[in-house]
Symmetry: C2
Subunit: 296 residues, 2 copies
Amino acid sequence: MTLLFAFPEQAALARIMSIEQGDWEWRHFPDGESYVRILSAVRGKPAAILCSLNQPDTKTLPLIFLAQTLKELGAAKVTLVAPYLGYMRQDTRFHEGEAVTSETFAVMLSRYIDALITVDPHLHRHHDLKESYTCECKSLSAASLMAEWIGKNIKHALIIGPDMESEQWVKEVAEEVQAPYIVLQKTRHGDRDVEITLPDIGRYKNHTPVLIDDIISTAATMIKAVELLKAQGFADITCLATHGLFAGNAYDALQKAGAAQIITANTIPHPSNGMEVAELLAAECVNPRYGEQSRQ
Amino acid sequence: MTLLFAFPEQAALARIMSIEQGDWEWRHFPDGESYVRILSAVRGKPAAILCSLNQPDTKTLPLIFLAQTLKELGAAKVTLVAPYLGYMRQDTRFHEGEAVTSETFAVMLSRYIDALITVDPHLHRHHDLKESYTCECKSLSAASLMAEWIGKNIKHALIIGPDMESEQWVKEVAEEVQAPYIVLQKTRHGDRDVEITLPDIGRYKNHTPVLIDDIISTAATMIKAVELLKAQGFADITCLATHGLFAGNAYDALQKAGAAQIITANTIPHPSNGMEVAELLAAECVNPRYGEQSRQ
């Protein structure tokens, strides 16, 4: 019985999810302020908002207006389904005086929602969304989608992960594909300045490298990895990521660097989308924990 | 002792305010997320944030990050100085299912600030900011700035207010200028669709009309009023407003309609700025209620 209120960017994903859609309107007044109106009856029903939180600065206010209004109109439960969850990187004060945006964003958003469902959140220093979010939280993994895509499309894959922290996740994908894996050594000097080194992969000469990561943003890591692999004689290199943010010209740059294929999940709409998260999200939306049972 | 942290758009206004400025940084990561860092020592000091809330959807998150971080770093008090305050129009549910953004925005912002100082907030159905904002509130009036501008620049002014609701404020300006005033009859059919009628002004033929309003957004009201005045033979028509939002091509359209002069206060930076709010705001910032005394 959950009603799904999708943000315009997520309209295509919402259709595939096969959950009854709620009717709502979001537009801007001439002065740039948001206008939000809910047109479906929501009293007593669980409601889910489908909104990926890339470019969060422009979406957060309308999202809060929608969530608050659903509550005011008597929705039994308000779940935010954010296939991509933003503000996960600045989770500590790296330098004196910095805003810990990850914490502030989570605490603020938690006030307006009862539950949060997301895919591969960028947990780095924190290990659980519950360390910041005070609502119910469910992190789904796209590892099985990646494994499935690789299994169907790549023969003799060598799975390559971005850094030591991702090893557990890379290993999970590799085991499902029954392929070997390695991880890169990564040192970050700035937003766009990343140094990486490749372990010795001489014994994988007859394998096809598949670089995997949770997010491609500037693509700096992927580009350097592709260049290192090409320098070692690999030609057919695939880049796979859950979330394709592709800041600026990152997508073009990664193609030019020599990636033969770039495939992302459709958590953020992009021409590279090749892995479908609809079923994964829909199953969780109608999970009793997040749906009908909440009315009891 | 108050430290003033100005948003980039308010840099010019901040310089004129002659309050010691705090050093801070706001930039965007390549993926569009905001990065905020406070570089001045704030522990034990009252801090003021100078941020006009036009185009609020893009400014609210960085504003919250800045306010929250000032608190975390031990600022004695955090005052938001918003020369223009956004989300003041949708203060009730005009149609079923609408988000009452005015209320939600006020409640959210109040959690992060101790006090709010603004100029001519667009109070319509509400009469006091305290009906929505739960922090200390101070509304300053630009009526004296308008009266001063008219006194210096216009001879034999006829002050014309936009609607009945503004009569008290229009009367205040007119009395200070010692000029006669009238108000228009206004009926709003949509964001940009406004019907107005002009009372009989035959006896003011030798006066110079000065249209005044709190906000010029689409300029729909001002344009129609200018057209009606021109049809009655008036040539030298001045438009005066506290806040010049000028949505889209509103400024050009108002000039083309025949406004001889368009003058606004510098609450929002715009070529039409001709009334200076710096002194008004600075006096309130160092007012014991909002400044040093708060440390006791």
